[in-house]
């Protein structure tokens, strides 16, 4: 590295602070200054952000840049664009950049542009842009759909994409990839810098950063035909190994449940003996539970706070501010704190419950001790005996620094539809040019011309075989072959609907005031808003139920105008509604394989806590332990019913889909299944007929039951009526603009949207089953809520490797999933069964 790359001003600034520029910071600087794009992979605390901005700061500090050159008016254009997944992170970065800029008196202006930026400032930013603009993917898309986009971005030199590993796994990543493709067109010579935590396939991110397939194909000079274009890779080496342990509380853990109630005293002791502790949990409900339990033990009244996505934003900001000011000893938090904001003084991370994925746990561990050269200290706290297995597998993975980040995405058609409309809002587009631009974005590199045309057709008139809406077209093709937006109203609608995050329907929780003298009566729309709660959860409550929210035990009083009205429950009341739930993240394929390997190999058991080894030995005695690639199926009678359990270890989502499909098959086999329960490791189905007997009569039955062909007609038939599929369709419909988030001047409630998309789904699926949005929904279902892809992989893996045991009673392994019954929601009941039961209640009332 030639030292000349770092100007003296910068070198001095580093040494004044007693710092040395790190090798990766200098390498990235040299790469970007040479006009190349780069991916920087670095652990937390490695000075990633400064590295990302260093090339821009150096260039901007150089004399003469821009002055009198840009358009000859002394006006500088936008030099660097920074995109972060979190609004708060953009704001935080702006603050952090202040130190080097002020410290070196650099003539550099930095501004943020988020949903909170006032209109006058937005207008001014377009007219007189700062040197560096910090923003989010949605705001970038809005900027690109602006009529002034071409002029605004023409002088852009660098784009910095922070937390890229987190962005690319979702539809936001698709949207950002399309925006990046447009930026490359508007600003030729643009250099992209991706900042990422360690990932399994850095090449996928390197492709994401630069233009892919182009027509005509890239010249041999760009790496030759066939080799994908990739950004340079810069890796920050070093970093101390994490000091990571499984918390041993010296007690036998339960076989199911996720609360880790038993471990709370030990966690409290850890908080007492450390400076600041981040306690990560997997769900909002678990966060509430853990917070409540820790405060029950909190005799020293240590400042312990709660942070999760359902809390009111102002409350979250207060917690973050208190944390930044060093006023807290612990925060119980969910994935909301997985990313970004740098809080320095955390000296311990505790992860309660199953780790679910190796990369996720490493990211969380990295939140402790934001200095790269000191080890991060962390404890994993299993909630049950199975989670001990998962913790063991995660410890091994961290030791080997093995990663399990998800595969690269195939760009979603609904996101593309949104983008195409946005591009029409910016300016008339030539379809051939736009197609070339879109396929240069990695997620869309495989997009065919026909599929692109279908998206344009969808944007124009809805993409229906019945050409009913020609005269209402949103975009119109002119005589010059270019597509233009119909009128300003369409552009307005686009702006209202931009983005890919479709919130699940939430309702506000209000701390209601009791009417004096009328206990149980509350005034609607009065009292403080505590936050928002999932509508699904709210639906399960009946007035009088107590539940945990915002760190308090609340009593549900009822729904008033779509708000959840609640009062404080009396002191000492226990929350009646179970507020624990399994993780919403499915167990990663990678960890699942490791868990299977540990179970299959008794020599590995020495490394397990003794209670777990004993449990596995009991299972081997009572039934059998499956080999690494086998599927264990057990059948047994219990309390007048017959059970079938299976242990694919493929995560709850895939298991729920499997349960639905198996139930259909068992129904056809006239075994009369009644319902099923699933967790991350296995499923249990119960029925009224003797399934063991059936298998004894026809030994092929089990093999046929798990045949891959269930992913054909059975899956299709089930998808048609699945509520999850309808929810998936609704998200696609909102993103693609079929259903508007809100009309100009009129806010639609989520409930109205839900009803109408269900009706739309039914009609569309009957009349045009291959419609773009149905295809988009199926593509999502493959990896999303239904995890069909993973189920398919599992069914292929176990072909010819099913081990069936017919038992006279439940086995130790099966107990674990049986315990989920009644704890988790039970699936498989038809709508008519529910209605029939409600009807029976009427009959009883009439006869009684």
């Amino acid at each position: 590295m030639p030292p000349s790359d770092l100007p003296p001003r910068f070198a001095d600034w580093f040494s004044e602070r007693g710092w040395q520029p790190r090798p990766h910071q200098l390498e990235l600087l040299a790469t970007v200054r040479a006009g190349r794009s780069a991916l920087l992979v670095a652990p937390t605390g490695a000075g990633k952000t400064l590295a990302g901005f260093l090339p821009s700061l150096v260039e901007l500090s150089e004399a003469g840049r821009g002055k009198g050159q840009d358009k000859g008016q002394g006006k500088r254009g936008l030099h660097t664009l920074y995109v972060s997944p979190l609004k708060a992170l953009a704001v935080d970065i702006a603050r952090n950049l202040d130190a080097p800029i002020a410290g070196m008196s650099l003539p550099v202006t930095v501004e943020t542009r988020t949903g909170d930026t006032p209109a006058h400032k937005r207008t001014r930013q377009i007219a007189r842009p700062p040197d560096i603009l910090l923003t989010t993917p949605e705001q970038l898309s809005l900027l690109l759909a602006h009529r002034e986009a071409e002029a605004f971005f023409a002088g852009l030199r660098t784009v910095v994409l922070d937390e890229l590993h987190a962005l690319v796994t979702s539809k936001r990543g698709d949207l950002l990839a399309l925006a990046l493709a447009r930026l490359r067109r508007l600003a030729p010579g643009l250099r992209s810098i991706g900042l990422s935590a360690t990932v399994r396939e850095p090449d996928e991110l390197r492709k994401y950063l630069v233009a892919q397939r182009q027509s005509p194909p890239p010249s041999a000079g760009e790496g030759g035909v066939g080799a994908p274009a990739m950004a340079d890779l810069v890796v920050a080496t070093g970093g101390a190994k994490a000091d990571l342990h499984m918390l041993d509380i010296g007690r036998t853990l339960p076989l199911a449940g996720h609360t880790a109630k038993h471990a709370m005293p030990a966690i409290y002791d850890l908080i007492r003996s450390h400076r600041t502790v981040l306690v990560f949990v997997n769900t909002r409900l678990q966060a509430e539970y853990t917070f409540q339990e820790l405060w029950r033990l909190n005799d020293d009244t240590l400042p312990i706070a709660l942070h999760h996505g359902s809390l009111d934003a102002s409350q979250r900001r207060r917690v973050e501010a208190a944390m930044a000011a060093g006023q807290l000893r612990a925060i119980v938090c969910t994935a909301t704190l997985d990313l970004g904001i740098d809080w320095g003084d955390v000296d311990l991370v505790v992860n309660v419950g199953a780790p679910k994925g190796a990369s996720r746990i490493m990211q969380r561990i990295g939140r402790a001790n934001h200095r790269m050269d000191e080890p991060s200290k962390a404890y994993l706290v299993p909630g049950n005996r199975f989670e001990m297995l998962e913790c063991r597998a995660a410890l091994d993975a961290v030791e080997e620094a093995a990663q399990d980040t998800p595969d690269a995405r195939i760009g979603a058609p609904d996101v593309l539809a949104q983008h195409v409309l946005g591009m029409a809002c910016a300016d008339a587009f030539d379809p051939l040019d736009l197609y070339d631009e879109i396929v240069s974005a990695a997620p869309y590199a495989g997009l065919s011309w026909e599929d692109f045309e279908a998206v344009v057709d969808y944007v124009a008139t809805g993409g229906y075989a019945l050409r009913a809406y020609e005269r209402f077209a949103k975009i119109l093709k002119g005589a010059d072959g270019k597509w233009r937006v119909r009128d300003a109203r369409v552009a307005q609608q686009y702006r209202m609907n931009v983005g890919t995050i479709v919130e699940s329907t939430h309702v506000k929780v209000r701390l209601a005031r009791q009417l004096r003298g009328k206990p149980g009566t509350v005034l609607p729309k009065t009292g403080r808003v505590l936050g928002e709660i999932e509508e699904d959860f709210c639906e399960t409550l009946t007035p009088g139920d107590t539940f945990l929210f915002a760190g308090e035990v609340l009593r549900f009083e009822g729904l008033a105008e779509d708000e959840c009205m609640a009062t404080r429950a009396g002191p000492g009341t226990d929350p009646a509604i179970p507020s624990y739930a399994g993780s919403k993240f499915p167990l990663s394929t990678f960890l699942a394989a490791r868990v299977r390997a540990i179970i299959a190999d008794p020599f590995e058991w020495d490394r397990l806590p003794p209670q777990l080894a004993t449990y596995l030995a009991q299972q081997r005695r009572h039934s059998i332990l499956p080999g690494e690639r086998d599927l264990l199926v057990e059948t047994f009678p219990r309390a007048g019913r017959f059970y079938l359990t299976a242990f694919p270890f493929e995560g709850r989502l895939a298991h729920q889909t499997l349960g639905m499909l198996l139930t259909r098959r068992l129904e056809r086999a006239r075994l009369r299944p009644l319902g099923f329960a699933a967790n991350d490791y296995g499923i249990a189905i119960w029925m009224t007929k003797d399934v063991s007997e059936r298998i004894a009569l026809s030994p092929d039955f089990v093999e046929a039951l798990f045949d891959e062909d269930m992913l054909g007609d059975d899956l299709e038939a089930w998808l048609d009526e699945s509520a999850m599929m309808k929810r998936t369709f609704r998200q696609c419909a909102v993103i693609a603009g079929l259903i508007e988030r809100r009309f100009p001047g009129q806010k639609k409630t989520g409930r109205q949207v839900t009803i109408s998309t269900d009706l739309i789904y039914d009609v569309l699926r009957r009349h045009q089953p291959d419609h773009l949005l149905l295809r988009a929904a199926r593509q999502d279902a493959a990896t999303g809520l239904l995890d069909v892809t993973r189920l398919g992989m599992m069914l292929r893996r176990i072909r010819g490797r099913i081990i069936h045991r017919s038992l006279d009673r439940v086995s130790p392994l099966s107990v674990s999933v049986m315990l989920e019954i009644g704890r988790e929601r039970v699936y498989g009941e038809g709508a008519d069964d529910i209605l029939a039961e409600a009807e029976a209640a009427l009959l009883e009332e009439a006869l009684g």
């Binding site: 809805g462 009913a468 209402f472 949103k474 639906e539 729904l559 209605l835 209640a841």
Partner: protein, 237 residues
């Protein structure tokens, strides 16, 4: 004994008596008056999809008219009525008939063939006029029943109306089912909306209170049949 038999008949969910007239609640959401061979359907909201496209540039699948007419066709085939009464809001807006596809127009004509067809005026389609066959009425009487679009407070016994799009919601063991329904107290009947894109209003909404001061039974359209559900079992949204 006799009481339980009568009840048994009622909770089958299909047969009712209103002002001395025998009614059959069809699981399609239509009302069948066997003694008069008359089929009543309410709130078809034909051309709702195209109304959205024309008004707000929202391109809902343009198959709602076809779907609604197909459901109606199925009921007509099965019951072969001498008369069909569309109980108002048959079109989503007054210009609906103009926007109807020729194919759908032909479907309506085929349905009308050989039977009396009455369009009752609704609030969405009060001004609908020519081009769609049949005859127009504000209200119509069939036996002891009065058929009108919007239910009147304090109406005579035997009123059959639509307009409100009733839906009932049943929640049990963490699951809830929300379905269109008929609502009756033995004095009057409010019909579910028949149209494919017609949304629903929960029967626990205050709009139903003045119509049924002494409570009601809702008849929810299940997948296989109609279910009679008491008010106490019905949840709010």
């Amino acid at each position: 004994m006799a009481q339980s038999q009568r009840l048994e008949k009622t909770v089958k969910g299909t047969d009712l008596s209103l002002a001395g007239e025998a009614l059959s609640l069809d699981r399609s959401g239509a009302l069948w008056l066997p003694e008069h061979r008359t089929l009543v359907v309410s709130d078809l909201h034909l051309e709702k999809g195209s109304a959205y496209a024309a008004r707000s540039g929202q391109f809902l699948p343009p198959y709602d008219t076809r779907e609604t007419l197909a459901q109606l066709h199925e009921a007509v085939q099965r019951l072969d009525p001498a008369c069909v009464v569309a109980l108002g809001d048959s079109f989503h807006d007054a210009r609906g008939p103009e926007r109807m596809e020729p194919g759908d127009r032909a479907l309506v004509a085929a349905l009308q063939e050989g039977r009396d067809w009455v369009w009752i005026a609704g609030n969405h389609d009060a001004a609908v006029s020519e081009g769609v066959g049949g005859r127009y009425c504000e209200t119509v009487s069939v036996g002891g029943l009065t058929l009108r679009h919007e239910p009147l407070a304090g109406a005579e016994a035997g009123e059959v109306a639509g307009h409100l799009h009733p839906c009932g919601k049943v929640s049990m063991r963490g699951r809830s089912v929300r379905r269109r329904c008929f609502v009756s107290d033995g004095h009057r009947l409010v019909m579910p909306a028949f149209g494919a894109y017609a949304g629903g209003l929960n029967v626990r909404d205050t709009a139903f209170e003045p119509l049924f001061p002494k409570g009601f039974t809702a008849y929810l359209l299940g997948d296989g049949r109609v279910f009679a559900i008491g008010k106490s079992m019905l949840g709010r949204d």
